[in-house]
Symmetry: C4
Subunit: 284 residues, 4 copies
């Protein structure tokens, strides 16, 4: 397995071209947040906006709209009933993230069905949280080439692959990556990434980050990086590494690192790696 | 074209007279924010208040009132149904901003009609975002002298003027400025301003600012400066330059600059330019 | 007229006794905030809590409860319909503030009637903003000794006293103070205070503070100081001076000072004056 | 009585194991916040999350959900009607906190009944605020071994034990601790803790902390520490001491310390004590 390092960040986070506009950095649509788990999709949205996605829209239960706007007016909102407007919104996306706080009821199921059917070949789809469980329960398959990233923790990976935690070896995981035909971000205190081409291991991650919402934040970052950067495999690796890197940095001064603190610090740390990239280039 | 510079700020942002009260710095009424785009008008309001407008009122869909108050209790709110209260509010304004998150439906159209009919010769009107698109769709004309500022990005300017982006040359833009009889703030990574008297080019602007909501923030700043400063053309130029100046400054430490961060830093940077103005005066 | 100075602060803001509890620092009930002006009562509440009042309750239109809690969970809320609960709440207060964002309609009038009738001789009542206008319109009189503070700006003082702004001389104001039998905080860029015993002039105040909500913040501070400090006249003077003092300090680095920034800085500046008081005592 | 000291913190707040996940640090369910006192349960939740509990859920009146999410998306919410979902949530908890802002009406009573009946022997239950008053009014008894912590102030302790404040001597308090069979955190400016094994006195506490919401914050910290740390008596002692320690530290620069400021500083101060622990270990 390749070990992720700072080079995974400097390879991706480059100086933006002067002649850019918000469209240059992609459109993400984030779907999740039922009546109890609205905070999850809010945390994903904060990560997505602050990691640099050009335009972020959130489709969530109406109950969550005010809290989202109160924290993050930069995001647009849409109720998550399956209207024409919902379908139109999905259609505009470069990246769709589904799952944070989505829940497991029938409505959530319908939304996932709908998104899986609608996904266009140009779009990336990140499937997180309860959407992974729903995907597993319904024995979906991605039976044609799709640009999909799953972000399971070990229990969700068991549901998706059938592999018990003890059987989640690198070889077995890689086998299931091939069967699914998707990128797998297998979250643990040392997250692993499985793609069609390679396997990566994240050497970072602090126990200060072991608190609810960290996964929602990571999912938002992955969506944002996919929307914004061209090399998609590299973008996923960079998001995973940066999430842990910031967590470790903040964990030096804090016993607990809140997910929203990771997001708050994204613009600063991304700049540091842009500058590091430029310094490295200069030396060459 | 004249290139904007720090002198455009020091010429406008002067030390306030001791004997001032909130009325001295004008009343702005901001109209926008439908059920999906409430964040837009919230961002405009934050910019307007923090740039120093004396009194800021927001007319928006009721859904957005709580989020606005949670972020900015300094602003007053009114539902945007076309009641007598709405008309009374419009009547008190020194500056009206319409458009951020307004949307394109029939209700939005009615509000724009209403505002265009009601505008008094003493009032300034800033037309932004979807209000520009509605204005273009309805083939409105400003067939008598009106104090209007349009703030289109290049696509909106195409809709308004009919000029395709490739044809948006300085000469053509100036021609259309005359036809419309309004001030044009043509937004791009190097924003241009066209007035009856002059043409300006903004040399600043960072790609870190290429994120949703930047335009809403600029529109709020323009409204605030028009409400507060006497020389209106100079006020528009100062708002445009300051917006980019802060964006560039924050962009030195941040890969992405959120629109709300620009607003948060307005009081500090405006003070710096007031002080710079005073130092320049002393030397004379 | 006596000129307010730092001594008005060191005389009031003393080191709290170790054996204190929240009841030691008084209960304030703040009433205001209709459907359009909810921000006003939120700003008063922030000032009241952060200036040290032990317990702060807010009675406001239900529409404003969520925004208040989102900013300030330290305050309790109650709908402002005239229920038994409302009367019970009023009954517990050491200080009642009525007026910020109250509005001028019939319901607002009923609430003011109710409060004026219910006020007990042990309670202080601060009448601010639209409650002053309502008081004037209804030709109320305080025909028995009441502990009342009015906080009019010059236009409201004209309504209350009948004195046109040009006639608002020290002598005339003092005369009307006696007729009303209340403390008058006459707000302008150099606020004056009239009591039965004395006249004070505030030498401070920055034009950076000339923005909507400053008066709501001052009213909240006055309520908090009355609830917390024993010498009531001294408490009012201290609140007025501190409000401007903080405004001037923040105005050195900011072109505009938001009302909520004044409140945010209250705990820090109050500590500074407590420390100054103790140093002065040591020297004696 | 043993006097609490920094050693009570270094004994508890140790370096987290690398191989941790959010489940490692426990699940808390917080119940409270009626239509008027929503702020109380919000403050408890902030303390619980920021003190390091792995997963925090809040069951409160629906009215409070948006404000909670706007401040703290890390928490999950559930309406507090007595549904199957409510019972399922309770069932998952390691620690249940009931009381902050709960109120005293029939519904609040039903919830308390329900929680007392449902509590499993593996779960800890913290009874605070109005839940203490309800417990006293209903002459409940804990007639079998339960893991309960009561957090009364002196008036609530009078209601619970029948001991008038003047009779709340160490001996009498200890006697009542035994009768109740629960841990008692008796709050005052020098809080005392009574357990089956020992008596503790807190030497810290600043009058700057004498403001509404401090108790709600302490209750949230106690729940968080019980969820997260193994030694339960030590966890309660650590929470009490840390709450006052942070209050005293912030009180050096602030005349008033808001409860939410205590919570905001938890991650930083907990890290300091982790580091202090490690230094002490090294010396051995």
């Amino acid at each position: 397995m390749k070990e992720l390092s700072k080079e995974n960040l400097t390879a991706v986070i480059k100086t933006r071209l002067q002649n850019s506009h918000k469209g240059t950095f992609g459109r993400s649509v984030l779907i999740g947040g039922n009546d109890s788990y609205g905070g999850a999709i809010i945390m994903s949205a904060e990560a997505c906006v602050k990691a640099g996605c050009g335009l972020t829209s959130v489709s969530t239960a109406e109950k969550n709209h005010t809290a989202l706007h109160a924290r993050l007016p930069e995001a647009m909102v849409l109720d998550w009933t399956l209207t024409q407007e919902f379908n139109d919104l999905i259609d505009t996306a470069d990246v769709i993230l589904i799952g944070p706080g989505l829940g497991l009821d029938t409505h959530s199921q319908h939304i996932l069905d709908n998104v899986l059917q609608q996904q266009k070949s140009s779009q990336w789809l990140v499937i997180d949280g309860s959407a992974i469980t729903l995907f597993a329960q319904n024995h979906y398959s991605l039976n044609y080439p799709k640009q999909v990233v799953f972000t399971p923790h070990q229990m969700e990976w068991e549901r998706l692959s059938g592999l018990k935690i003890i059987d989640q070896t690198v070889e077995n995981n890689q086998l299931w990556q091939m069967k699914l035909g998707a990128t797998i971000v297998l979250k643990s205190h040392r997250t692993e990434i499985y793609t069609a081409n390679a396997k990566y291991k994240n050497p970072l991650g602090s126990p200060a980050m072991a608190t609810g919402g960290m996964g929602d934040t990571l999912a938002g970052m992955i969506a944002s990086f996919l929307a914004q950067f061209k090399e998609k495999e590299a973008a996923v690796c960079a998001a995973v590494y940066l999430h842990s890197f910031i967590g470790e940095e903040l964990g030096k001064e804090n016993y607990v690192v809140l997910p929203t603190e990771i997001s708050k610090n994204l613009p600063y740390y991304m700049k540091r790696f842009e500058q590091l990239h430029n310094k490295t280039e200069e030396k060459r």
